[in-house]
């Protein structure tokens, strides 16, 4: 099998995982080989025969689309599948000691979480999403009623609810986990999840490749289209839920543009900010695992970090190739809590990434929550950071 054939097989099995993927891949490989052999018998060289066969096969996307429709991703928890470390890391700046008191004063949009899923129309309505006890709830039946007419497919499986995610290729997944079903008085039977990941909903509505997946519980899996995306469940566990929710609120409810999103915005959560006062790294440029940052925060404060995966890096190429997106930017999110020494440490995933350092905060006022994209290397950070690329893209798991 040459590289072209490999690429075809990889793309045709995109969206499938683990053993299923291997088996479908093998089946298609045998198919391809059969066609190649037929052309060779007709007199073509192996190379030409392969080229001809691949041309006949056409786009692998139809295969992957059809297969993905049939086979959903298994639950994220305990998944043995490769999960892409595609997370939008954000430097969350929390006031000293404020983090613990945020939850009670939290504002959260009750409906706009799913608004974009319905392509910008508020098809689901406020009663179908609820924010109860700082948790985000969604009415699955209502989602189903609203979205099936749009061609979204629901499937049912028999295992416990695990996660809900909205993924848009080339952007950060919006991920809710864990996820279970309960009755909420006055609202009905809802699926519950903690908002624990990033939402790039503004791209979602425009992007035909956006996909919502609820895995687990009765597995109502919604595919708004065929593209699929792995996601990382690592970031959620460390903390910063309130921050994620505020980001969600800002993005969804306030309709921020991308530039605004990367700048400062106000939310009603009353968060003030501090600057990252220094950026230092340990390890050498070519291989390191841990990044230590000195931040002006209290022990326990959550921080998030953005790492832009260098598109020219091995990992960047692999991701771009796997997901076939032009001009996609892949980010990695890491969240950590400030330690007793006032620093945060993040462990890089296996892969290559670039620490981005655009850390200015124009016009930010106390009370603002700030999203920071760290871009490009700076003199303090020393530029590029690389870690050993993996054979496969593997999940980062944190407990």
């Amino acid at each position: 099998m040459n590289a072209e054939a490999e690429r075809y097989l990889r793309r045709a099995t995109r969206g499938l995982w683990g053993r299923r993927r291997q088996e479908v891949r093998e089946e298609l490989a045998a198919h391809l080989e059969g066609r190649v052999t037929a052309h060779q018998i007709a007199g073509f060289s192996e190379r030409d025969a392969t080229e001809k066969a691949l041309a006949e096969l056409g786009s692998p996307r139809m295969v992957s689309a059809g297969m993905a429709r049939l086979y959903t991703l298994p639950p994220v928890m305990g998944s043995s599948l490769a999960v892409i470390v595609l997370c939008l890391a954000v430097a969350a700046l929390w006031p000293k000691g404020f983090a613990q008191t945020l939850e009670g004063t939290f504002y959260y949009p009750t409906y706009s979480c799913l608004r974009a899923i319905a392509n910008g129309n508020d098809k689901l309505g406020r009663s179908n999403c609820a924010y109860v006890n700082n948790e985000f709830w969604v009415d699955i039946e209502a989602a189903q009623r609203a979205l099936e007419p749009q061609g979204v497919t629901f499937k049912k499986y028999g295992f416990a609810a695990e996660a809900l995610s909205v993924t848009v290729p080339g952007t950060t997944p919006f991920f809710i986990e864990p996820y279970s079903r309960e009755s909420v008085s006055g609202i009905g039977s809802l699926a519950r999840g903690y908002v624990s990941f990033w939402n790039v909903v503004e791209r979602f509505a425009d992007n035909e490749n956006a996909r919502l997946r609820i895995s687990g519980w009765d597995d109502p899996t919604l595919f708004l289209n065929e593209a699929s995306f792995g996601l990382s469940d690592g970031a959620a566990r460390i903390g910063g839920e309130a921050f994620y929710k505020s980001y969600l609120s800002a993005v969804l409810d306030q309709g921020l543009t991308e530039n605004e999103r990367w700048g400062s915005y106000k939310t009603s959560i009353g968060v003030s900010y501090d600057e990252i006062v220094s950026l230092s790294s340990t390890g050498n440029k070519t291989a390191f695992r841990n990044l230590h940052l000195t931040v002006d925060g209290l022990p326990g404060d959550p921080y998030g970090f953005v790492f832009l995966i260098d598109p020219a890096s091995t990992l960047g190429q692999k991701l771009a190739d796997a997901y076939e997106f032009e001009d996609a930017a892949f980010y990695y999110l890491e969240m950590a809590r400030v330690g007793r020494d006032g620093t945060v440490s993040v462990s890089a995933p296996e892969g290559e990434f670039r620490l981005v350092d655009d850390v200015s905060f124009p016009d930010v006022q106390p009370g603002d929550a700030v999203l920071v994209r760290l871009a490009g290397g700076n003199s303090q950070s020393g530029g590029w950071y690389e870690v050993i690329p993996p054979e496969d893209i593997t999940p980062t798991t944190q407990n």
Binding site: A12, E23, V24, E26, E27, L28, A29, A30, H31, E33, G34, R35, L57, G58, S59, P60, R61, M62, V63, A65, G66, M67, R69, L70, Y71
Partner: protein
């Protein structure tokens, strides 16, 4: 034609091809083309998802055959009992439909 109807007919084609034996993807494509004079020119993009769908519906079972060359193994499909039954039902339904439509096609004055 609704999506569901088209898909159902496609399934019927595949089940019918599998009626007389266990076959793998390329064989199925070749036979579909050959037996229908090229009318059904199945593409991988639609064939394999359909075969897998039939497998999940338990109308067919599938197995890899050992490879004698060390290369990728072929996956062979065979009708299951419920597949045989389903095919018979769908065939009967198709023939009823066909018969009804056929009756309507005949011009009134013809005998």
């Amino acid at each position: 034609m609704s999506k569901g109807l088209l898909r159902d007919n496609f399934d019927l084609v595949l089940l019918a091809i599998l009626e007389d034996g266990t076959k793998y993807g390329l064989e199925i494509i070749a036979e579909a083309r050959g037996r229908t004079d090229g009318y059904f020119d199945l593409k991988e993009g639609s064939l394999y998802p359909a075969l897998h769908r039939l497998e999940r519906a338990a109308y067919v079972t599938a197995e890899f055959a050992p490879s004698d060359t060390g290369g990728p193994r072929r996956r062979y499909y065979r009708l299951s009992e419920s597949g045989v039954k389903h095919l018979a039902e769908r065939r009967a339904a198709w023939e009823r439909f066909n018969g009804a439509v056929g009756a309507l096609w005949k011009p009134k004055e013809a005998k």
